[in-house]
């Protein structure tokens, strides 16, 4: 089954290849979209989240100073506790934010310093809390003892100094925290930038790859088109040209190859062979019919019909040139037919025809004129020239024997010759030959009689 389907297979393969390349290109493009969308969302998720966390962290660490102020301003335990609640809440949140930042894939590096600073800040606030607590208690004591109680005044003075110092420490630690966070913010930002750049590069690379794929697809397309054009279109056109000619010759068809077009070409070639075979046969039949129409079946000499037609055609030549006409008759033919049968008669006729055509020049127009009669036009010869030829034939015939059913037959023939009568039609000459034949028969058969030219011929002619 594979034979003869090569074209389909090959076209299918090429189309398949083309489709494959196109689909791969599209697939690659889609895959790229998916990859880059993921990368972008990952970037935005992680990095933005990390940036938000870092900025919140910075904000909170700066707000710690404000909470410290609240603590400072507390003049009773209610206020102090309220401030400490806020401070520990803030501290808890800062710790959470730190943990989040550390865990984020967008950050790098050690957070140990940050954590240490935070721990220091917490300790510092605890210390401040203790101092403020003592201040509040000492204030209360002073109130109960009286405003000029030296002991409490001195204690308050020292406490205020220490509180101020502690506040300065707090502020420095808060700033340190803020700056340390700033480092991480910077890092995240530069990472984001480099990630974006890297992504851009990768996208550019992928673009080039896709362009390459597209180029390959174009190439395969061109190959396919070229192949189709050559192996299909071109061959079909050639085939068309070959069979559109006047006389298409089957041998000229190109049936090489093993595919559908080759098969079609072979079929066409086969038809063409059939057609030309038929043509030849018809021509042969025509020739045969033609032959049969103008020849005698038995002797293969021209028949009377043809002879008369030929004479008509040659009128010009006959008028202008010399010729002689011979009439021939087989002697006692009826007797041969009656005594020995028609087969013997046929054989005799055939033999006589054969000898006549042998004996007469090639230029002679010899025909079977009747059952046992023959006529011949001998152009360019006078009667006198023809007579010896005829005589020779007569002698040959006398010596020729025909064997029929073990019986030997001897055949003789009578000849009447007439030469062209000047300024007269052919029919007159023919008639003259006929007269001569009749003379020959009357004089005893088996002889050649020449009809002489008479004055009456021309006279007759002028008359009639």
């Amino acid at each position: 089954m594979r034979k003869g389907f090569g074209l389909t297979v090959r076209l299918a393969v090429l189309t398949g290849l083309l489709t494959l390349v196109i689909l791969s290109t599209i697939g690659l493009a889609l895959m790229s979209f998916g990859e880059y969308r993921q990368a972008l969302s990952r970037l935005s998720d992680e990095s933005t989240r990390a940036l938000m966390t870092a900025s919140r962290l910075k904000q909170q660490s700066e707000s710690m100073v404000g909470s410290g102020a609240l603590l400072l301003l507390a003049d009773d335990h209610f206020g102090r506790r309220q401030a400490m609640f806020e401070i520990s809440d803030r501290e808890e949140w800062i710790r959470e934010l730190l943990a989040e930042l550390e865990a984020s894939p967008a950050t790098q590096g050690s957070f140990a310093e940050l954590e240490a600073t935070l721990a220091d800040l917490v300790d510092s606030f605890d210390a401040l809390d203790a101092l403020v607590q003592r201040r509040i208690d000492t204030q209360a004591l002073r109130l109960s003892r009286g405003p000029h109680d030296e002991d409490s005044v001195v204690r308050l003075y020292h406490l205020e100094e220490r509180i101020a110092e502690q506040m300065r420490t707090n502020r420095a630690l808060s700033m340190k925290l803020g700056v340390a966070v700033g480092y991480h913010v910077n890092h995240i930002r530069s990472q984001l930038e480099s990630s974006v750049n890297r992504l851009n590069e990768e996208i550019g690379q992928r673009e080039r790859l896709l362009a390459g794929f597209a180029g390959v697809a174009m190439l395969v397309l061109l190959v396919t088109v070229f192949y189709v054009s050559r192996s299909v279109v071109y061959r079909v056109l050639r085939l068309h040209r070959a069979i559109s000619r006047e006389r298409p010759a089957p041998e000229e068809l190109d049936v090489s190859g093993n595919d559908e077009i080759a098969r079609m070409a072979s079929s066409i070639q086969r038809y063409m062979h059939n057609i030309s075979d038929n043509e030849r046969r018809i021509l042969a039949m025509n020739r045969e019919l033609d032959f049969m129409a103008s020849h005698d079946a038995l002797t293969h000499l021209y028949n009377r019909h043809h002879f008369e037609r030929a004479i008509n055609e040659r009128q010009q030549t006959l008028d202008s040139e010399l010729y002689s006409v011979v009439m021939v008759d087989i002697d006692h033919f009826k007797r041969i037919n009656d005594n020995h049968g028609h087969d013997a008669g046929d054989q005799v006729i055939r033999m006589v025809a054969h000898q006549l055509s042998r004996g007469l020049p090639d230029s002679a127009l010899l025909a079977r004129y009747g059952g046992e009669e023959f006529v011949a036009l001998v152009p360019g010869c006078s009667a006198a020239a023809v007579a010896p030829m005829l005589d020779a034939i007569r002698h040959t015939l006398m010596d020729a024997a025909v064997q029929v059913d073990g019986v030997t037959l001897w055949v003789t023939v009578s000849f009447g010759v007439a030469q062209k009568i000047p300024d007269a039609a052919f029919s007159r000459c023919l008639k003259a030959a006929d007269e001569a034949l009749y003379e020959a028969k009357r004089c005893g058969r088996n002889r050649v009689v020449i009809r002489p030219l008479r004055q009456s011929d021309s006279e007759e002619d002028s008359d009639g």
Binding site: R56, D76, H77, F85, S88, D89, W93, E96
Partner: protein, 493 residues
């Protein structure tokens, strides 16, 4: 022609995509409940935040309480009570499935109720249902409850989070992976990003408008207020005591709803710790606290003061708010009488709730003003549940009891108050048995007076309910007759 269609297709797809993006955003919701739940099985914890996360969303009960506090059919389509009040017949809904595909039928309902009643189930509300003597399966979707004594509160109680329907095959993992019949399926719980729920495709009722919900638990007040300020939170059920309340109420993208809860805020006293067994000390505490001044923690509203463990909104309420007026002098006298004149010292344990933190500051000052030394101990919610609620390891604590009609907790010997009073227990049994409403209300009044007289706890005020939510969110409950965030009733405009 084909080429034109091919060229149009990418445009159509792009259009569809952008349309899809818009619709997704409006179907999700982020709710913050300040307290972190210990786990997600509401039948094994009294923590309201578990109920708020999963009750009515993941789990459902035979009945449900609507936003007005009325009982409505839930998984039971209807029920009938016998003449003598001792038999309840429930007809259950057909075609209900659990989230894992298992069927809900009378056998499963019976299992849930029997588990609720069994002693080793760990259900803290078990005693509410002890009137149920027997659970009978009367058909594939028919259930009969046989009671030992009439209890007209039963249909209401079946709508509470402790009585939700669970399946025997999935119940053991409900603490971490809750599987119920509700309109939302549990998707995951990541500490830090909260509990994620998604609409259940095969829900028996109407599909909810909100398709994705996240519950986060932001304990830190600053972080919570920051989240609200940044617009990260869509719904926060109680904004009443936020320090940024005033600022938030002026923002155009948020709305604050005024409503009522059933939460009695108490200064709870551990009767097992000395000197709190002495009534005089307890009465001293009640006189020492200036409750009017305490209301300053709410910048925008003034909730009602209470004098006992009962909601002023209930018809049986007796106003005992003035039983112990603010009188530091009287407090000192009582303390001296009880032998505590030298100054008692105690620890006030503070859970992370807003109102508790704010109130603790006032209460600490008030107690210090009558000579008591106060140390403040701040715990996070799981710690509070373990230490205070579980192990009863505390002196005083500030807490809100948000379950409706839960005065019966004072009849429980093993409750964390450690209040054991036979008289009150007897009174409560009479209340449970009393069918006739007026008589029952009278008895409830007696119960209230009993608790006030005994100064069992210092009763402060009724917790206000001020949900804050993004403009455009419809269906938020104004009142909280039960602690719940009912997602299926919410929708974005």
């Amino acid at each position: 022609m084909g080429k034109r269609i091919a060229a149009m297709t990418p445009l159509l797809l792009a259009g569809l995509m952008s349309f899809a993006d818009v619709t997704v955003a409006q179907q999700s919701l982020r709710v913050d409940l300040q307290l972190e739940p210990p786990h997600l099985d509401p039948t094994r914890t009294a923590s309201a935040t578990t109920a708020e996360t999963v009750h009515r969303n993941v789990f459902q009960g035979l009945t449900r309480i609507d936003r007005h506090g009325d009982v409505q059919p839930g998984l039971a389509q209807r029920w009938q009570v016998s003449e003598d009040g001792l038999r309840y017949r429930f007809w259950l809904r057909q075609g209900v499935r659990f989230h894992d595909g298992r069927r809900f039928d009378a056998e499963v309902a019976a299992y849930s109720l029997r588990r609720l009643l069994s002693e080793d189930s760990g259900n803290p509300q078990r005693l509410l249902y002890q009137a149920i003597r027997e659970v009978e399966v009367a058909g594939s979707h028919e259930l009969v409850l046989h009671l030992s004594q009439p209890n007209s509160l039963l249909p209401f109680r079946l709508g509470l989070s402790a009585a939700v329907m669970v399946h025997p095959d999935s119940v053991h993992t409900n603490v971490t992976r809750p599987v119920g019949t509700g309109p939302y399926v549990f998707q995951g719980w990541e500490r830090g990003s909260g509990v994620r729920l998604a609409a259940f495709a095969d829900y028996w009722g109407q599909a909810p408008a909100i398709k994705h919900a996240t519950f986060t638990y932001t304990g830190n007040r600053l972080e919570l207020e920051g989240g609200l300020a940044e617009g990260l939170i869509d719904l926060y059920p109680d904004a009443s005591s936020l320090t940024s309340h005033m600022a938030l109420s002026h923002r155009a993208d948020y709305r604050i709803k005024d409503g009522f809860s059933e939460g009695e805020v108490l200064l709870a006293i551990n009767h097992a710790r000395q000197p709190f067994g002495d009534r005089r000390v307890r009465r001293a505490l009640s006189h020492a606290v200036d409750r009017e001044a305490l209301l300053d923690i709410y910048p925008a509203i003034s909730p009602p003061l209470i004098g006992s463990h009962f909601s002023p909104r209930h018809p049986a309420y007796v106003d005992l708010a003035d039983r112990y007026p603010h009188d530091p002098g009287r407090a000192r006298e009582l303390l001296a009488e009880a032998g505590q004149a030298d100054g008692a010292s105690l620890t006030l344990t503070v859970p992370p709730t807003q109102y508790a933190e704010s109130a603790s500051l006032y209460i600490a000052s008030d107690l210090e003003a009558v000579g008591i030394e106060v140390a403040l101990e701040r715990l996070d919610w799981p710690q509070w549940l373990d230490q205070v609620f579980g192990e009863h390891d505390y002196d005083l604590t500030i807490v809100a009891h948000v379950e409706p009609m839960d005065i019966d907790i004072y009849a429980r010997d093993d409750y964390y108050f450690n209040y054991r009073d036979a008289d009150f227990r007897a009174l409560w049994e009479r209340i449970e048995a009393e069918q006739e409403e007026t008589a029952r209300h009278a008895l409830l009044g007696e119960a209230q007076r009993h608790l006030a007289d005994d100064a069992v706890n210092v009763f402060l005020f009724l917790k206000p309910q001020q949900a804050i939510h993004k403009v455009g969110l419809k269906g938020v409950w104004s009142d909280t007759p039960i602690p719940a965030v009912v997602l299926q009733e919410l929708a974005w405009e």
